[in-house]
């Protein structure tokens, strides 16, 4: 399964997503660019005001901040940019090279899993006469390209030049858990370039999006290639974004002679072992550990999990990557030496999303008598610097030990707003909530329901935590009297935000 395999690799990527600037490659490498022609007016600067959610004080609006990136016109009042350029935006303004006027804009679609977004100007008339950029294909290695955009170093449009260095599956640092095809270039890609076009022969071959910290590597920038962009555009063509689908299995190469014999695999180099299957994934009820995956859509899967796709050897997940929610995938596999074929309907695999950064979301929480409950996800773990052994185990093994099956949305007692009613409980902050009043807690919503539930000793609220020696006990009437007072003291207006649904 792609998400898991790529996590370790991600640790090496200190890359910050960059607001990148797109370069346009002209037939002649030395052709001068004339800004007065208006040809470049369709590459725009995007100024973004944001509120960074506050997971420590989830009832607060967040920290105001801002940034700037690049976008470019791809159709009538449609600008393509990176998701990370417009994430958590409260206000967007588009500017062009030759026009002094700021144009307020808004998000139309945003896809965090592939770091792409489409925005539009609130009033698109200014851009009506501009020519949208058009897309090319996957550029060849060692061919020149230019990145155009508005990176740091000045206010006007900038162009940098380089060659295609590598084409590979890479982790996308925006969510930290998604990986897709990416193209590595040696054109300078700096903060502000993000979302800008990378051009070859006048056509867009990618969107600049991330690079390495300069202390780690030089001249390594990454662009999102056309297949990923076009998948995004096709996905949103029906008016909403459905996310990537995932086969959600982990493969293990077949290299060992004993393994071949046991799995009854031939010497033709075909077949990879299915080492693990996510029960909640697309093939959760179809494939089993120890099956041998032979082909996807009739395309043979090699012993090392690669597949020949569009003439290149690629990770077999690339076949799934190009598909959409509800699409069928034809799988050929072998179980106990017997060949089987089946069409599977592909769907999104949700549990991994919690392990990555999330955006455009108001933090959810519930406060009860000064006890703050929040759902576990990466943003929360980072913000609270949680080191509780049970919480860390749950987070680190949420997928590997399939803990999401029992506890789809683990809830953590993140802090205790101290008051007479809870003063002995402060040391239990950062614990995982297991049960409240006899009810198993599987999501934040359960907390609300469970708190009002009356268990055996109904004058008490009893909260069981994972791996703590004792339950937390509050006298119900004491807790309920203290609650409004605590809310006021700690300046909290609403005692819960459980989400929009």
């Amino acid at each position: 399964m792609k998400t898991r395999l790529l996590l370790p690799a991600f640790a090496l990527l200190c890359g910050v997503p960059f607001f990148v600037q797109a370069a346009e490659e002209q037939p002649s490498a030395n052709q001068a660019i004339d800004l007065t022609t208006g040809e470049w007016e369709s590459v725009v600067n995007i100024d973004c005001s944001v509120l960074v959610p506050d997971y420590r004080e989830p009832w607060n609006a967040g920290q105001p901040s801002g940034g700037s990136g690049t976008g470019f016109l791809i159709g009538k009042n449609r600008f393509l940019t990176n998701a990370h350029v417009v994430s958590n935006a409260t206000k967007l303004v588009i500017r062009t090279t030759n026009d002094p006027q700021p144009h307020p804009a808004r998000i139309v679609f945003v896809a965090h899993d592939c770091d792409l977004a489409i925005i539009e100007a609130e009033d698109g008339t200014h851009f009506e006469k501009l020519k949208p950029l058009t897309f090319g294909g996957i550029p060849k290695l060692n061919t020149e390209l230019i990145a155009v955009g508005y990176p740091i170093g000045g206010d006007r449009i900038s162009v940098t030049r380089g060659v295609v260095s590598r084409i590979d599956f890479r982790p996308f640092s925006h969510t930290q858990v998604d990986s897709h095809l990416a193209i590595q270039v040696d054109a300078a890609i700096n903060p502000g370039n993000s979302g800008g076009p990378v051009l070859q022969n006048g056509k867009v071959v990618g969107v600049a999006f991330q690079g390495f910290n300069g202390r780690v590597a030089q001249n390594v920038g990454y662009i999102i290639p056309v297949p990923v962009i076009q998948r995004f555009l096709k996905d949103v063509s029906d008016g909403h974004y459905d996310h990537y689908v995932d086969i959600a299995i982990t493969d293990f190469p077949i290299e060992n002679s004993a393994q071949k014999k046991a799995l009854k695999v031939g010497d033709d180099g075909i077949g990879v072992m299915v080492a693990d299957v996510e029960p909640a994934g697309s093939v959760g009820t179809i494939l089993k550990r120890g099956d041998v995956l032979l082909a996807m859509d009739g395309n043979p899967v090699l012993n090392n999990g690669l597949i020949r796709f569009e003439g290149e050897l690629m990770d077999m997940n690339e076949v799934v990557e190009r598909k959409f929610a509800g699409d069928k995938l034809k799988l050929a596999y072998q179980r106990d030496g017997k060949k089987e074929e089946i069409d599977v309907e592909l769907k999104r695999f949700d549990p991994y999303v919690k392990l990555g950064s999330q955006y455009n979301q108001r933090p959810r929480y519930l406060v009860y008598a000064g006890l703050v409950f929040q759902p576990m996800d990466r943003d929360l773990m980072d913000a609270h610097q949680i080191h509780d052994p049970a919480a860390n185990y749950l987070f680190d093994n949420y997928l590997t030990d399939k803990l999401y099956v029992e506890r789809p949305e683990p809830v953590i007692l993140t802090s205790v707003l101290t008051d007479e009613v809870n003063t002995h409980l402060a040391i239990y902050a950062h614990s995982v909530v297991d049960e409240i009043n006899g009810m198993k807690i599987k999501s934040l919503k359960d907390v609300k329901e469970a708190l009002s539930r009356k268990d055996v000793k109904e004058s008490y609220v009893v909260i069981k935590l994972l791996e703590k020696g004792r339950p937390l006990v509050l006298k119900r009437d004491f807790a309920e009297t203290a609650h409004p007072h605590i809310m006021q003291t700690y300046n909290i207006k609403e005692d819960a935000y459980l989400g929009d649904q």
């Binding site: 060992n256 004993a258 393994q259 046991a262 799995l263 120890g290 002995h424 008490y460 020696g469 004792r470």
Partner: protein, 521 residues
């Protein structure tokens, strides 16, 4: 294995009188008599002849531990130099740390430099104590002729003045003062048990042979130095009551060790929690949240959820302390571990469902071999099976600790978690955690090289509960294949039985220079 050496600072030597003069001993008000004794104490120590080392010996140890990650190899050997306290019958008391993994032990007379080889007669790594005996009975008499056995004095209290004894270059006695400021329970050098300690303040000089220093009260042994924090000038002392307990246990020829109760409890200071448990506001007791299977409390019938209110008649307060007649408020664990012996009767009173219940049993000790994950491992090599390149080992604390704090991601973190939550693994019948600690590159392990840290569930259809099961199971491949089932990704490994045989010969004679393919004892 890491032994924390004492870090000592060198400071000018102060006479005990000067150092102790300004300090007022802290005494129990109800014992005015005792006060006078305490004040008299510093003078007594200071008045002792300064060349009296007749109860001290230099102890020189060479040690060599096993490599925990490459278990057929040993690490570089190294040395420790400390002091030993001469006991009656020509025996010598040192800390267990001093002789851990010893390959050679010698005793040296501080003044003449005369030496005699010695062996460990008894050792307890939890209590951190060992008794040494000379190897040669023929030389023993002459060697010990100038030495005098030291008595153990268990009467020290908070506020008492003590002296640290060290020897100088030619055997002269160096005496520096200390004063006990606190008494509590704490782990010594291994993590699984807490014992009584004295905390004392004072300066300890840096001298040769500073490992294991005797702390003396009125010419008698009051403690051994356990560790010294030179920055705060706080010494943690291994106290006479524990030394006395150890020596008494050794004396009967059969060493039983220090008993334990085998419970985990929670304090009950929280009033709402007390109400919920039905405890009155001034009632004693702690909430039992875990009872170790087979432990003393389990045998007595203590259950999870009980409120433990007394042991052997001593009432337990809401912090889990009892009033010790000598030391004041002290963790209840000392009643069992420090004041009782294995086999002694124990009476535990608990409140269960609102009623007081009296539970009785005999005290036991959890032997180190009975832990799912060994808390420590000295003097012997880690158990392993190396087969075809797969290295199976039993999980131990020292193995986990050998990675230090930096490399604790991934598999080590997962194994650490198992070590911290042994119950669920013991429940399903595992005696030890067997895991793949490494995979050596051989023809049988082609494709598996990068794995490590997976827990082994099954080999060739046989459930694995300890390392010996692996050795047995590997004798019975099925249709020419070995099948190893793992608890983690990739869950299953297949090996060719013939190739494994060939690779085993290669491993013994080839570049890895493996001396033995298994160590099961």
């Amino acid at each position: 294995m890491k032994i924390s050496l004492l870090s000592l600072i060198t400071l000018a030597c102060l006479s005990s009188l000067q150092a102790q003069g300004p300090l007022r001993p802290q005494v129990h008000e109800q014992e005015p008599k005792r006060r006078r004794q305490l004040i008299a104490e510093p003078g007594m120590d200071g008045a002792q002849p300064i060349n009296n080392t007749s109860s001290l010996l230099k102890v020189n140890v060479t040690y060599q531990s096993y490599n925990l990650q490459i278990p057929w190899q040993k690490e570089t050997s190294s040395g420790r130099r400390g002091l030993g306290v001469v006991l009656p019958n020509n025996r010598v008391l040192v800390t267990a740390q001093m002789v851990a993994d010893a390959t050679y032990i010698e005793l040296e007379l501080p003044d003449s430099g005369q030496k005699i080889t010695a062996k460990v007669q008894a050792v307890d790594y939890e209590a951190n104590l060992a008794v040494l005996a000379p190897n040669s009975p023929a030389k023993e008499k002459a060697f010990f002729s100038t030495l005098k056995g030291m008595e153990v004095d268990t009467t020290a209290r908070i506020g008492d003045a003590l002296s640290v004894w060290q020897t100088g270059r030619v055997g002269e006695l160096i005496v520096t003062p200390m004063r006990i400021s606190k008494v509590m329970t704490q782990g010594y050098v291994v993590e699984n048990a807490a014992f009584l300690v004295y905390e004392a303040t004072g300066i300890i000089r840096s001298e040769a042979n500073s490992f294991t220093l005797p702390i003396v009260k009125g010419g008698k042994l009051a403690a051994l130095l356990l560790r010294y924090d030179s920055k705060n000038q706080v010494a943690t002392l291994l106290p006479a009551p524990i030394i006395h307990h150890f020596l008494k246990d050794v004396a009967d020829g059969k060493y039983d060790g220090f008993p334990s109760l085998g419970v985990e409890f929670q304090i009950t200071l929280d009033e709402q929690f007390r109400d919920y448990l039905g405890l009155k506001s001034d009632a004693p007791g702690v909430f039992i949240n875990n009872v170790m299977k087979g432990g003393s409390a389990d045998k007595a019938g203590v259950k999870k959820g009980d409120i433990m209110i007394s042991i052997n008649g001593s009432s337990i307060d809401s912090r889990g302390d009892y009033q010790d007649p000598q030391f004041g408020a002290l963790s209840v664990s000392h009643i069992v571990r420090g004041r009782s012996f294995v086999g002694d009767d124990v009476e535990i009173r608990v409140i269960r469902e609102g009623k007081e219940v009296i539970l009785k049993s005999q005290l036991t000790r959890k032997n180190v071999e009975d832990y799912l994950v060994l808390p420590y491992l000295f003097d012997k090599g880690p158990k392993y099976v190396l087969s075809g390149g797969l290295l199976f080992q039993e999980l131990t604390r020292p193995y986990l600790n050998s990675f230090g704090n930096e490399q604790q991601g991934g598999p080590i973190l997962r194994l650490q978690r198992i070590a911290n939550t042994p119950d669920e693994f013991e429940k399903v019948g595992r005696k030890k955690i067997v895991f793949l600690s490494a995979i050596l590159p051989t023809s049988s392990t082609q494709g598996y090289e990068r794995m490590n840290g997976q827990v082994v569930d099954e080999v060739n259809g046989k459930k694995i509960t300890e390392i010996a099961d692996v050795a047995e199971a590997m004798k019975e491949p099925k249709e020419g294949l070995h099948i190893v089932k793992l608890r983690e990704f990739p869950f299953i490994l297949h090996l060719d039985a013939l190739k494994v045989e060939k690779d085993n010969l290669q491993l013994l004679n080839g570049m890895f220079r493996v001396s033995e393919l298994t160590r099961l004892e």
